[in-house]
Structures are given as C-alpha cells and as structure tokens.
C-alpha cells in the first residue's frame, strides 16, 4: 500500500503533514487528521465533523476560490489535479470544524461577543468543565486576589486550562476588541477555565460532581491560538509576582509558573528539547504560595509531592519513571490496581498516575476503591468547613456507609491524608467515552498514551501545585523540619503505621491549611516513605 503525506493546517495555524494512502478518500483523511490533532480536535470532534477545504491554485490573474472537499473524493487524485507537481506547504488543506457542537443557550442571550462563545463551545471539553465545578475559594485572600487581577492579568486566568489541556486557549490579541468582553462581564477569573478546577477542592471527592453543569461562558476564538505564549498561571491569583509577558507586577498567580515561558503552544504536543526545560524562569521559586519565603530554597519547579505511578507494562513504566525522575519529585510505582490501592493506603501520596487497563484490578476499579475509601474515611479538603452545605449528604452517606467503614477500611486520616488524592488516568484511547468513564470512576484528569513528557510535566506540576497549596502549612512545616531533621525521617515514618480508628470523620476534618500538623507528623507524611517500595528521587 502506497503512502504519501499531505499538508493540512488549521486556519491561521502552521501546516503539518499527515500520512494518507494513495486510495484514501477525503473521509479517511478526516480520521487521520483527528489522530494528528488528537488533542485540539480529537477530543471533542468526530471525524465526520471535520470539513476540509482546498484552495486551488489560481490561474494568473484569477482569484483563488476555495472549495469544500466532499467526503467521497479521492484525496490523492484531487490533490494531483489541483496541484500538479505536488502540494506545497502553503497549499495545505484547511481544516474546519463546525462552529458549534452542542447548542447551549447563552446565559446572556445574544451579546456582541456571542461569536466567541460559539467558538468556545467548539473547544475541547475533555477534562473539564462539564465535570467539575469552578474552583471554590481556597481561602478568602486568594479569591480576593483573583478578583483584583481581573483586568491586569486576564490572560493569566486562562492558565489552568493550559495546564489541563495543554493548550493555551486562544487569546484575544492585546488591545483587541474582544478584550472588552472580559471587562464587561464581571466574572470571577476562575470562571474562565475551560477545564476543571482542581477537584481536590470538591467534597465529596467522587464522581458525583458530574451533574454540575457549568455554563461554558468562556470564549475566545481559536483564530488567535498562536498569539498566546503564556503557560501556567492558574486561576488562583496570588499577590504580585513576575509574569511572563512582562506585565510587571500584575497580581498574577505564581503557583505554576511553569518552565516554558517562551514556548509557543502547540496544538498537539510535540517533543521539546530538554534545554527548554532547563531554562527555569526566575519566578519559579516563588511558586508554592504567596507567602512562602524564598529562603525555603524551593529550587525545583515541581512542588515536593509524592507521586504513585501505576502501570503494568514495564516499558511504559520505565519511561514514566524516567520522566518523573526528571521532575525530581518523590515517587513510587505499582504494577496493578490492587498494589496501587495498597500503596495509596499507606498514605502520603498526592498524585496517582493510573493506567486504566491493569491486571488483577483495573485502574478504574482501583480508582473507585480509592474514592470509596476516601469517602468512608471522610477525606475531603472541605469536609469540615463545608459541613453546612454538605452535611446532609455526607451524613446520609456516612450512615449508609458506617457499617461499610469496617476496621480494614480505616485510614489514618488525620495524619496521612490531607486531601483526596489526585488521580490522573493514563488512557490509550482517544475515545471520549473512555475518558468519561475514567472521570466517572473518580479520576480527576487524564493523559493520553503514549504520554508526552511536556504534558506529563504540566500535569504533575499543575496538580502538584494544587496539592501543595491545599496542604500549604504542611509543606511549610515539612520544609523547615526536613531540613533540620532529615535523619529522623525514617524513624518517624515507621511510627505512622499504627493507625488509629477514625470515628468522627465528618466533623473533625478541617482544611489542612488551618490546621498545621505537628512536625513529626509532617515529616512522616511528607518525607517518610509511603510504602515499602517507595523510592525517593528527590535528591
């Protein structure tokens, strides 16, 4: 079978080659394009939605007239006919997508910026908006900051979606007219996310949040994709810090000043040279939180989280291990769902990268089990403070689960589980349905295999920073304590194994930030080894 490559591009974007067979129809090409644009298109569009346009070479003096290719046209024949001698880069076929996927009434009716909402609807929805509610205020101070930042840094509010989807949502050009709509709509900055806010902040931490339907208010046409350079400024804005675009002292978030300040975004993740990674922006050491003094010496770009990688294929595992080593965080591995649950139970993990198809216990089952255990143990960031709104539900669940919460299910909640673990599913499939299944099982996010390092890094940073923020005091203490007493760690870590039964799970848990744990607990929690096989790669 003969293959050849043809140029395609999205409007205004760089062209790329896709491989087709000689006898492929346009319809087949659409499939190939979805694969190539696995993220920007593949996650929310089906092949038949794709419209391909061809711009025939103009005769001298004639105007170019583009036309839409029919699905049954022979791709290669058409190209040969239109472009005798071969298709040049700038003759790339243009990929169009329907303007609107799901008709949703705009909460604001027809406003002048409607067109951008339409575009918004066409954006990939994968991890988010429909599943998770906008982030509740982590603390009043933080929320306030984010409101202030509306004007001066409204680009940055997009950042979480960058991290989540790996894409920079298209920005209006600075000074562009569309910008006005950000100002007009006095929406809180975090509403701008396309993707989920950290679900760690929701309680209960199960798939039950799926029903939350958040209007997809945000917008932005995809025609400005490449004008965007920023990465990583999550919706939580924090006090002044350096911004990438030189916007000086905008109250932007320093949380995830990722290390790619100058990388143009790519709609499908491409490989990145390691050098880019090493160019850490100076702002990085301020990343943990507003008040972390730089003297803590946080010199890595990823907070000191502990990651559990669950993957049964040792080739894949090997690469993921190499990836995580690069990030210099602590990590451990498991090769099946059962092992994953057991390791998680030992405590101390902030992030789980979970392969979905696993032997013995699948990733989905393991995820459900972890979420169940979190539920019966009342692990939730706001399970204390949100008792007013959540109490009836939680109590109901509790009474129902009280007999379930057997001795064997009990976890050392107070010391080892500050917040629900973040579970990022590793899926081999581009199918939406698989993702939905993963999210429904309680995964927070997913990465498509083969896992791309850039995305991997973003996910770990993004969620890691979120976890770090939740357990901010924990980090703080840990940092101090670890530096002073690192030799003691192994001992205290053992001490955490004795679990005390947790009875008043619903009412006692407070947001971690308001309840600094004891230093010994911290050292055990954060620097102690979580399981027998846990390896520390933080040094």
């Amino acid at each position: 079978m003969l293959h050849r490559k043809i140029w395609v591009k999205r409007p205004g974007a760089s062209a790329t080659l896709v491989q087709v067979r000689e006898d492929d129809l346009v319809d087949d090409v659409r499939d190939v394009i979805l694969k190539k644009y696995g993220n920007s298109l593949g996650r929310s569009f089906d092949a038949p939605d794709i419209i391909l346009r061809i711009v025939p070479r103009a005769e001298h003096g004639q105007k170019q007239v583009e036309r839409v290719l029919g699905p049954d046209e022979q791709m290669c024949q058409t190209l040969d006919k239109e472009y005798p001698g071969g298709q040049a880069v700038d003759e790339a076929l243009i990929i169009d997508i329907p303007q609107r996927r799901t008709p949703k009434p705009s909460p604001r009716g027809m406003n002048p910026y409607m067109h951008s909402y339409l575009e918004e609807a066409a954006r990939p929805v994968e991890n988010g908006g429909d599943y998770f509610p906008p982030m509740p205020a982590a603390s009043p101070a933080i929320t306030a900051a984010s409101h202030h930042s509306n004007h001066s840094s409204n680009e940055h509010t997009r950042a979480m979606s960058v991290l989540n989807t790996g894409q920079v949502p298209p920005l209006p050009s600075p000074g562009g007219t569309r910008r006005a709509h950000h100002k007009n709509s006095n929406r809180p900055a975090y509403m701008r996310q396309h993707t989920s806010s950290p679900t760690t902040l929701q309680a209960p931490p199960t798939g039950s949040s799926q029903k939350v339907v958040r209007p997809r208010l945000d917008s932005n046409a995809s025609d400005h994709r490449h004008s965007a350079i920023l990465v990583g400024n999550p919706p939580i804005s924090t006090p002044p810090a350096q911004t990438h675009d030189g916007a000086a002292i905008a109250p932007t978030s320093t949380l995830v000043n990722t290390s790619h300040p100058s990388s143009p975004r790519v709609s499908s993740p491409g490989p990145r040279k390691p050098k880019a990674r090493k160019n850490k922006p100076p702002a990085e050491n301020t990343m943990l939180a507003p008040s972390i003094p730089t003297s803590l010496g946080l010199d890595t770009s990823v907070p000191p989280i502990n990651v559990l990688i669950v993957e049964d294929n040792h080739i894949n595992l090997k690469l993921l291990e190499q990836f995580i080593r690069r990030l210099k965080v602590r990590w451990a591995t498991a090769v099946n769902g059962r092992e994953a649950v057991n390791k998680w139970r030992a405590g101390g993990f902030h992030l789980v990268l979970m392969d979905i198809q696993l032997p013995i216990m699948s990733g989905l089952e393991a995820t459900k089990e972890i979420r169940r255990l979190e539920r019966v143990n009342g692990i939730g960031v706001f399970s204390g403070s949100s008792a007013s709104s959540e109490a009836p539900k939680l109590l109901a669940r509790k009474s129902q689960s009280i007999e379930e919460a057997k001795e064997e299910d009990k976890l050392d909640v107070e010391r080892l589980f500050k917040s629900p673990v973040i579970i990022v599913a590793l899926t081999a499939s581009n199918l939406q349905v698989d993702r939905h299944e993963a999210l429904a099982a309680g995964c927070n996010d997913f990465l498509t295999k083969p896992v791309n390092f850039v995305w991997f890094e973003r996910k770990v940073k993004e969620w890691g920073c979120m976890q770090a923020l939740i357990d901010f005091d924990g980090w703080h203490k840990w940092k101090d304590f670890a530096s002073a007493q690192s030799p003691v760690n192994s001992k205290t870590a053992n001490g955490t194994k004795d679990k005390k039964p947790v009875k008043e799970v619903v009412s006692v848990k407070k947001p971690a930030a308001s309840k600094p744990p004891l230093p010994t607990e911290d050292s055990a929690d954060l620097s102690g080894t979580p399981g027998p096989d846990a390896e520390s790669s933080s040094n």
């Binding site: 080659l17 491409g270 490989p271 990145r272 040279k273 690469l319 081999a428 295999k449």
Partner: protein, 148 residues
Amino acid sequence: MADAKSEGSTGLPDPSGEIVDQATFSQILEMDEDEDEREFSKSIVYDFFEQARSTFDKMDKALKEKDLAQLSQLGHFLKGSSATLGLTKVKDSCEKIQHFGARKDETGTQDEPDDSKSLNKSGHSVGQARHEFEEAENLLKKFYHDNE
C-alpha cells in the same frame, strides 16, 4: 513552515517517521543523559525487543489454543509499549489483535460473531505485527549501531 516533523530529521532512526514516529521516539532520546551512550533509550528499546518477542510467542500460543481473550489482552499489552516507543505500525496491528481477540471487527466497533473468523484475522494480524516489529527492530538496531 516550522513543522515539528521536519526539524529533526537527522539523528533519528527513521527520518520518514513511518515506522518509528519521530516525535514519540525523540522524546525518549531526550531522556538520554549522554547522546553518545544513549544508555536509557537503548535499554528501553532493547527491553522492548525482548518484551515484543515474548509477547509474540504468547500470541502464537494463544492462537493455537484459540484463546481469543488472551489474544486481545496481549494485543493491548503490546500496543501500549509499541505506542510508547512510537512504533506506529506495530501499535496499529496490535490494536487490531486486541479488537479481533475481543470478537470485534478491526476497528473495534462491530461485533464479530464468528470465532473462527476472529481467530483467523487475529492470526493474520499477529503475523503482520511481527513483521512490522522486525522491520522496526532492524532500523533501531542500526540506529544503535548494533550489527548483530
């Protein structure tokens, strides 16, 4: 046009990208500490050779035993690692094995009620995958200057 595909056509085992996907493989190469030794990528690639061979053997066995479920699982398994290395063709064939083994058509969308057909098709795909694997193996061995 700065295209990710065209920029690094040197220093990769398969500049055409047909057998070894450049983007995927180059990120593995980037994990190498030393570009001459290429210790990490070489080890992962050679581990894969081993894994693929043993998986193909298991597939043969499953074919003999007409164990479609096992075939499907093996197909999925090898699909994962071949995808990780960017061995696109092998991956695609493994995916077919996975689908055939699951009593589906090759895209995994339609049910295939006839087990002997499924078995037949799986057998064919296993052969194809093996062939594609060997093709990739040769390229990669050349890349690592291994002329055994």
